[in-house]
Symmetry: C2
Subunit: 620 residues, 2 copies
């Protein structure tokens, strides 16, 4: 091992110091997870101070630093205490644990500068680590290693097995996971209890190297890290037999001590058991190497001859196909782009990018949870991940999507096959709640383009924005309505039809924009004028344009191929200061198979439904 190393005796002392920090900080907070922290102390202190973990604490973003993710996020007191033992956090700061103004939150968040990502919803850390290891090996071509600390309870989450299979599939020997088998979950024994051999059998069958160790024996742990380090193509799982609450006899291996801090008296009793603490000791970390990352972006030779071919108004192209082409076309300008897809790239058209730039396209198979976690990991290593599947199937990863916002990430989601307009495949394949889902994210832009030109512009805009965004694409071909030079912005909208005689305003997006334009044409024949606004950006929504339109309209009619709850209509309803009633046309009946036209008609989001609603408003 390179770098400064602390000897075994020192690591033992540091472990004792870390237990002290965990104790005093959790008792001070009055809550937290000391017992889950105690079981992992030696596993982490040996990693940190045994010369394995290479990290420059002065430069947490150093590209050659190893990465460490606490998937068992409730062991956050251990994470903070490790860095205290490394001299980077002082005891007074530890005593602010879980306070409103403290960066040491109940579960790790990036407010703590050494936390890689927000964790605490279990079963997500391995996917994040997978994304980082993928970035290191295939994109940046850097030798740093990624470590993930896992709890045993969280191995019940399916997402873990998604991550395990993809990690071995992509031969990520640069990833080492440490499984803390402390036997006890929140409300009793885990499914497998102390049976490390079953964990081993399962994890091994998923293509990993496994090593079972006594998780409190520093020598054994050291050997395990040595072995893990040697693996170049096979990820290693260190399966550690541990004791929950280890180090304090009256909480060791006892049920009922999850998520509970010790009282002041109990803490004092525990401190006596811990023995003499050397607060003067500072654990040394090994230093990272200094290697530049590989050059990014496309090589000059492989650009598609159709790249940036302009669109013609009236031509037909699905927005999903425009999405795939746009990725191909903008990559030159955004060399950090990486594209992931969940085994449907010929439907989402991410394939167009993949065919042109296979070195930047990663097949994630039908494992959406891991795909989102991977994107989070890639994003935290400076990449711009564009990830796609059917809009409906992002619901599979809502927990990972929700959590990503707490890590200040930069993930570009694209969901295809939205709404009933996909037709014959039926309800299971229809994204009807995706706008609602992505709108709940703080700071996530939600785009819903109606044609290829706006799609391309919004893909480019997404790439340029820092933060999560969602692009909703449509299965069927739709006509180009915009000129290639039209510009689109975050929080923008476009008034497509406007006249001083407008009596009603229709707000639509995507497929229903075209239905609205058809309705416009029909109504015009009757000399009825309506304003049409393309709400291509649903979040943040263009409040001013909608508000202004409401001043001169008898009503706003919103039309969307989505359930009413949380969708375009409710977004418009919630704008303060609108001056007229809002009527929401949305998918309200149980969807089913059929042709796109039949289904849009059945759900009253078609041209006819818009005309009917307009006439109703006029006649009241």
């Amino acid at each position: 091992m390179e770098g400064p190393v602390n000897d075994l005796k020192t690591i033992e002392k540091l472990s004792r110091l870390i237990r002290y920090y965990i104790l005093v900080s959790t008792t001070s907070a009055g809550s937290g997870h000391p017992t889950s922290s105690f079981s992992s102390v030696e596993l982490m202190s040996t990693l940190f101070f045994g010369g394995f973990f290479k990290f420059d604490p002065a430069k947490p973003d150093h590209i050659n630093n190893d990465r460490l993710i606490f998937s068992k996020g409730h062991a956050s007191p251990l994470l903070y205490s490790l860095w205290a033992a490394a001299g980077m956090v002082d005891e007074s700061q530890l005593l602010t644990l879980r306070d409103f103004n403290s960066d040491l939150e109940g579960h790790p968040t990036p407010r703590f500068k050494y936390a890689e990502a927000s964790t605490g919803s279990l079963g997500q850390g391995l996917s994040i680590g997978f994304g980082m290891a993928l970035s290191a090996k295939y994109i940046d071509k850097l030798p740093y290693r990624t470590y993930v600390l896992l709890g045993d309870s969280e191995m019940a989450e399916g997402s873990q097995w998604e991550a395990l299979q993809l990690t071995s599939y992509y031969k990520l020997g640069n990833l080492t996971a440490i499984l803390d088998v402390n036997r006890l979950g929140q409300r009793g024994e885990t499914m497998l209890g102390r049976d490390t051999s079953v964990y081993e059998e399962r994890i091994k069958s998923f293509g990993w190297k496994t090593i079972i160790v006594n998780g409190h024996n520093i020598e054994e742990i050291t050997k395990a890290y040595d072995i893990a380090f040697e693996n170049s193509d096979v990820p290693t799982m260190i399966i550690a037999d541990t004791v929950k609450g280890k180090g304090v006899s009256f909480i060791e291996d006892i049920d009922g001590w999850h998520g509970k801090s010790l009282s002041g008296d109990q803490r004092d009793k525990a401190l006596i058991e811990l023995g003499k603490i050397d607060k003067g000791i500072v654990g040394k970390l090994a230093v990272p190497v200094n290697i530049k990352k590989a050059g990014q972006g496309p090589g000059p030779g492989n650009r598609d001859k159709n790249k940036d071919r302009p669109y013609k108004i009236g031509d037909l192209e699905s927005t999903r196909e425009a999405y795939g082409k746009a990725l191909r076309d903008i990559y030159e300008d955004f060399p950090d782009i990486v594209v992931l897809d969940a085994e449907v790239s010929n439907s989402t058209y991410a394939k167009i990018f993949g065919d042109n730039y296979p070195e930047r396209f990663f097949e994630m198979f039908i494992a959406e949870q891991n795909m989102v976690g991977a994107a989070l990991g890639l994003s935290l290593r400076g990449k711009i991940p564009f990830i796609s599947t059917f809009a409906a199937f992002f619901s599979r990863a809502f927990d990972q999507i929700r959590m990503s916002q707490y890590s200040n990430t930069n993930i570009k989601f694209s969901g295809s096959h939205c709404g009933v307009s996909i037709g014959p495949d039926g309800a299971s394949q229809m994204g009807l709640e995706d706008i609602a889902m992505f709108r709940t994210l703080i700071n996530c832009s939600v785009f819903y383009p109606c044609d290829a030109v706006s799609t391309k512009a919004l893909v480019r805009l997404s790439a340029s924005l820092k933060g999560n965004s969602y692009i909703r694409t449509t299965r069927m071909d739709t006509p180009i309505v915009y000129d290639n030079k039209e510009s689109f912005k975050i929080g923008g909208s476009k008034i497509l039809k406007e006249d001083s005689r407008d009596i009603i305003t229709v707000c639509a997006a995507g497929i229903t924009l075209h239905e609205s334009l058809k309705a416009y044409g029909e109504l015009l024949k009757e000399n009825i004028h309506i304003k049409i606004i393309d709400i291509y950006c649903i979040k943040p929504i263009d409040e001013k344009t909608v508000r202004d339109a409401s001043l001169k309209s008898k009503a706003l009619i919103t039309v969307e191929d989505h359930f009413p709850e949380g969708g375009l209509g409710e977004a418009i309803c919630s704008i303060e200061g609108t001056a007229c009633p809002v009527h929401i046309l949305a998918v309200r009946k149980m969807p089913r198979s059929g042709s796109p036209e039949e289904l849009m008609s059945y759900e009253s989001i078609s041209k006819e439904a818009i005309i009917k609603k307009v006439m109703e408003v006029i006649n009241t």
Copy 2:
């Protein structure tokens, strides 16, 4: 094997007939998945017509019928064709495949009376089967068997491994799964390709018996079902080496043929290859036994002495604790109740039920996706599953939740620890998008009680309603505001404070109802009167009461411990015909650790924020 059996030659003929039906129906539809159907033909025809599958077609709901779930729902043409071969669907009906008015949808739904559940979002069928097998073995104590047809691509979904582990944990030897390893996914080869030995190793390590067969050899398949049948405590996975498109040479094992029907010409060419079809043949099914299910409900001896103890106004109890007690108390009246929890029953208080009725409580460990699938299976076998975890973690199973609505199910969800008011644990544990998520479901009631009395009433109401419902509960203790005799109804609300001098109406629910009452008290001191409505039912919402209140108010102020999108505020905004502006107070800043009070204040959903907004409205 009991019952009538078709000989091997007949099963071969039936298989050919089934292929014919698949071909003509998909070509007629112009879309669908013939190749994915072909690979499973012998696996299913042997199950059906080899005397294994015991089913009375005249009584699809017969409690002794075996159950069959097509987890690979895209093989629906095979499902319909199987029943055609059994004489229960005629060819003209098959030719309506995927039509708007046809019950033969693109993916199976219960509109087809022999489909157990809606499938098509992959990786969900095994969990549904798990729920059914659990019901058979532990609750109804019936000998029927559950079969699940799985695709190989969908084995990448983590949810599969959740279901696999729980099935063996609960020793469900009455479940047999059939894995169709046809090598090809939608856009190319699967992660494991044709490597059945890796599938075997993985599935075996999860506690299953495995049998590898040639999936087109009826004799081999017969032997495998015989072995599976003998297993009493260990579930069996039949891993079948198959050929996608089997039976038609020019589509066999060829990439690019997923989800594509043959043209008329191609169909005709294929029919020549299939050879002579005997349309006169009808496959016979074995008949089920006739055994009564075990008696349901609690025994008389084990009722809790605190059962139905009345609450006193002003007393403190968290709604989550009231939820657990209510389950215990109502079980006598709803003997079909089954309670599941995802390893947090001491937090959701489902534990109270489990401690009283352990035979009706099933630990699902930290595997929320499988828990929802299991509930779906239980519900389809006539149970009333109440399932609980932290509100935040239901996001993990949004896809399963979404899909459940397409199976006309009866699942009672309860999410605890909602909102920032959980305090120090931080954002990862806060349910802030659960109302938005559950509101998107067609026909799902969304309840959000503010005290123990209303919680108890709403739990009872949920049990009595047919259909999905969601109950949102709060971590901290809240005072009882209702009399024990108060009644609550679906679509209802309660006006808690009202006066002719009311100038503003505050709509709140759960924790914010108490903040509103505090604001009411403070404002009253200043002689400012506000109306307070407890929106305990957020979906369907009490439009009339809100509309009436709006007529006499300068504004409606909504307050919720939830993100603004898709929540209480938007639900109120979307009510047509309200007569005053609506102001939404909701969680808008990045949440974090802190005390409940600090966080509610930080997010402007506290008493002070309500008072401030009231004063703003008054002063404008």
